[in-house]
């Protein structure tokens, strides 16, 4: 008979080490999949994980992809730490991009230093607004935030679709589903000539610092921590539960909105249908891989960004679909959850015969 028992004492060091085990297992699992598909696994993995970052351009692409993942995951960590399951970051990203993009389009033929800050703030407010909907429904109408936030993703995606084919489509764009190009004043400044990495990365790093400060040094962070560990205790201590839910959702939405604005004012430069390759969903994996710790999230966002890049190189050099990226992301989550399970529980195989003897 198999018996599952909770471990009483889990070492913290091991808790932060298991993500590495999960990554190693993912790479091994990927190798096996490549082997079954008929590729040389070593070579395929090299294309996947080393080739993409073997030159400066590739490294800049890695940071470019890690930026939105990191920003969103930082926001999500506020929700997840306090037991609020915001699954709709993709929707908040999209809505932030719509609002920020709207402001950028207002100024499409103007220049000015003030335009970019306006666009960024508008994007953050847009994301915040979209995140506060599930929060209000949860606090005042007892709805499930997982369902509401997830369904709102499709609302914002369809709204974006409508805008880029309808009212906001480029009048000189030959009916392509896209808006005008933003003016240079609404674009994130590039950090290096010839590379796509832009100033948005400072937003992400700023968010990391700020979130560390809020989570570990403020009363709000303390309330978030206690509520995440025991809602009963939070109630007993008299924390204002409803206000806290609203605040964490707003923080989370603002971060996702910023990520959306970073994408459209950075590499994209306009609004169209495909502004995000599901960064909002993938960031959930990033948040957990980084153990909801701000610095862990930096590391996790780089690892997961690499799966995006690897998938693209693998498509070019090995002619396999880029959706293998999602396979890798799925494997990371799977192995992380599995190793967490073994970390917190031990499996005991009971000797039945011995048991029988006792009776």
């Amino acid at each position: 008979m198999i018996k599952i028992e909770k471990r009483n004492d889990v070492p913290m060091a091991l808790y932060f080490f298991t993500p590495f085990i999960a990554i190693v297992l993912t790479i091994l699992g990927g190798g096996i999949i490549f082997y079954i598909l008929g590729f040389n696994p070593i070579e395929a993995l090299k294309f996947y994980f080393i080739t993409p970052i073997s030159n400066l351009y590739g490294f800049s692409e890695l940071l470019l992809k890690a930026t939105p993942l990191c920003l969103i995951a930082i926001g999500l960590s506020f929700c997840f730490k306090s037991n609020n399951w915001n699954i709709g970051a993709e929707g908040q990203l999209t809505f932030g991009a719509i609002v920020g993009g709207g402001v950028a389009l207002l100024f499409y033929n103007q220049e000015g230093f003030y335009i970019l800050p306006l666009v960024i703030i508008a994007g953050a407010i847009g994301g915040m607004f979209f995140a506060i909907i599930p929060a209000i429904l949860k606090t005042y109408f007892n709805t499930n935030e997982i369902l509401v936030s997830l369904m709102l993703v499709y609302v914002s995606k369809l709204l974006l679709d409508y805008l880029v084919v309808g009212p906001w489509s480029n009048p000189e764009g030959f009916n392509f589903p896209e808006t005008r190009q933003f003016s240079d004043s609404s674009r994130m400044p590039l950090l290096f000539e010839g590379l796509r990495i832009h100033a948005g990365i400072f937003l992400a790093l700023g968010a990391v610092m700020l979130s560390w400060f809020i989570l570990y040094k403020t009363y709000l962070g303390f309330q978030i921590k206690v509520s995440g560990l025991s809602l009963k205790t939070a109630k007993y201590a008299g924390f204002k539960g409803k206000t806290m839910i609203l605040v964490v959702f707003m923080i989370s939405g603002a971060c996702a909105g910023l990520a959306g604005v970073g994408e459209i004012t950075g590499p994209i430069g306009q609004l169209h249908r495909m502004i995000s390759p599901d960064y909002g969903f993938t960031a959930i994996i990033v948040a957990f891989l980084g153990r909801l710790n701000p610095f862990g999230i930096i590391f996790a966002s780089l690892v997961v960004a690499l799966t995006y890049l690897g998938a693209e190189t693998a498509q070019i050099f090995l002619q396999i679909p880029k959706y293998t990226g999602q396979v890798f992301q799925g494997m990371i989550l799977f192995f992380l959850l599995a190793s967490d399970y073994l970390l917190f529980f031990k499996v005991k195989i009971l000797n039945l015969k011995k048991n029988e003897l006792r009776h």
């Binding site: 009483n8 570990y216 040094k217 403020t218 009363y219 709000l220 962070g221 303390f222 921590k225 206690v226 560990l229 025991s230 009963k232 205790t233 109630k235 007993y236 201590a237 008299g238 924390f239 204002k240 048991n355 029988e356 009776h359």
Partner: protein, 499 residues
């Protein structure tokens, strides 16, 4: 065929407590047996052993002289021992029939025929095709009983079956149980309600602290004699000197406290009125599940009830949350140390910061003042003799007694005018219990008041100046503790009335 169930020398020891100490009992079909005892007397453990949920450390169970191996609930079913638990094991969204067919071994058609036979025979009116969530508590219990009857049991064990039933449903249940008994099913009825024992059962075994203290015919017993046996006489005489005096101020006054809940496992509170004087300890006795949980949460502000008036130091505080009530110098020590009063994963100083009152300056302008919290925590650790001086230690490494000292210390170091505590010594060893009792007496000596909600009658008689009993959400009259005897308490706790 007659059934004979014999329990022989059963012992079960949990870390820190002996749940069953060499228990031997004998049951024969044709009679209804009561197993009576306070919380923690060992009834539930014994029943869990009989139903295969827990294995005993020692001892054997015989059914018709056959030694039973009960290592899982399935073994109990195979041996025709049926069990109806206090909390139902039903799928709310499935229909009655679907619930019954889950563990059936026959096809649906013949199962339906047999269920209908049972319904007819015992006059149960239940629609088999409605979802279980539409049923009343009494009907749900009938579904559980039918589930047992389908396996034609020899033994039927009912665990506190009336705790969720109305008077009417209780009567119906008793009629059915008598019928089963006449048909030769051996019935073991677990309860702490004295009247039910007398009106339903033929024989009663009383348990106290893991031991069987008496087995007798119910016709030779009265409510008072049973209460005496249940509560026990050996009470500590180290009683504190009674503080009460007529002309002291009332510091805390509750009026029209009503609470209504849709949840069948919560208890409604009906029009509670009481007050506490300066320097007094008001004890509230009762068997757990009679509304103490709800009462504690309303007094602490976790639940806000409309139309209730709570006056504390001449201010109306009924609408304030726990944090705001703390500002008026109230303090709270809940029953659940591990998941409510403290968080095991947090460090000691973080748990101390949970009692965050205005003058503490733990959080200044929204920032954590770690230095202040740690200093304050160190003082608590030394003043309340917690056996560590490391404020960075995670609370999960403290023993129950030390954790409780930390919690009481956290609540008391602010010198509150009123402390409300609920089962403060639950599950602790003798040393820790004594320390906490001394602490609580000291508070009263310093002219501060306490409300002690407890299921431990010994503790209540030792510490309280006045005592009331809560039963089914209603409060008895409040009695000065020198007029209270364990016998009286037992009667009131079991739903009887005195004088």
């Amino acid at each position: 065929m007659a059934t004979d169930l014999r329990i022989s020398n059963i012992s079960k020891i949990y870390p820190g407590c002996i749940a069953n100490d060499n228990v031997s009992l004998q049951f024969k079909s044709g009679k209804i047996y009561a197993l009576l005892g306070e919380n923690g007397a060992g009834k539930s453990t014994l029943v869990k052993i009989l139903s295969g949920v827990v294995s005993p450390d020692n001892g054997e169970v015989f059914l018709n002289e056959k030694n039973l191996k009960l290592s899982s609930p399935l073994d109990a079913k195979k041996n025709k021992i049926g069990m109806v638990f206090q909390h139902f094991n039903l799928f709310e969204t499935l229909s009655v029939f679907e619930n019954l067919s889950i563990d059936a071994t026959e096809n649906n058609k013949s199962l339906r025929v047999r269920i209908n036979e049972i319904l007819k025979k015992y006059n149960f009116s239940i629609d088999l095709d409605v979802p279980v969530l539409n049923l009343s508590a009494g009907q749900k219990q009938k579904v559980e009983i039918i589930r047992c009857l389908l396996r034609s049991p020899k033994v039927l064990i009912m665990d506190e079956p009336t705790s969720v039933l109305t008077e009417q449903e209780t009567e119906e249940l008793f009629i059915s149980l008598k019928k089963f008994c006449d048909e030769g099913i051996l019935i073991i009825y677990i309860t702490h309600k004295l009247k039910e024992v007398l009106s339903l059962c033929d024989e009663v075994a009383v348990m106290r602290k893991g031991k069987v203290v008496s087995v007798s015919q119910t016709q030779n017993e009265r409510v008072e004699t049973l209460a005496n046996k249940m509560v026990g006489q050996k009470l500590a005489k180290i009683k504190k000197k009674i503080n009460i005096s007529k002309n002291k101020d009332e510091i805390f006054k509750v009026k029209h406290l009503n609470f209504y809940s849709d949840d069948p496992f919560e208890t409604n509170l009906v029009n509670l009125n009481f007050s506490v004087k300066k320097g007094e300890c008001l004890g509230i006795a009762g068997i757990s599940g009679n509304g103490q949980n709800e009462l504690f949460q309303i007094l602490s502000g976790e639940i806000i009830t409309p139309d209730t008036s709570i006056i504390f130091r001449n201010k109306e505080i009924a609408k304030l949350n726990p944090k705001q009530r703390r500002e008026y110098f109230m303090a709270f020590s809940p029953e659940d140390r591990i998941s409510q009063a403290a968080v095991p994963e947090l460090k000691i100083y973080e748990n101390v910061a949970l009692n965050n009152f205005k003058s503490s300056n733990f959080f200044e302008k929204g920032l954590v003042n770690e230095k202040k919290i740690k200093e304050h925590s160190k003082k608590i650790l030394s003043d309340f003799s917690v056996n560590t001086d490391n404020v960075e230690l995670k609370s999960q490494f403290l023993s129950g007694g030390n954790l409780q000292k930390l919690i009481l210390g956290r609540e008391l170091i602010t010198a509150p005018e009123l402390l409300i505590c609920y089962n403060p010594t639950w599950g602790l060893d003798v040393g820790a219990i004594n320390y906490i009792h001394e602490t609580l007496i000291k508070i009263n000596d310093q002219e501060k008041s306490t409300i002690l909600i407890s299921t431990d009658t010994e503790e209540l008689l030792k510490l309280s100046d006045r005592i009331a009993v809560i039963y089914k959400g209603k409060l008895s009259k409040i009695m000065p503790s020198e007029e209270v005897t364990p016998e009286k308490l037992g009667v009131l706790m079991g739903g009887g009335s005195i004088d």
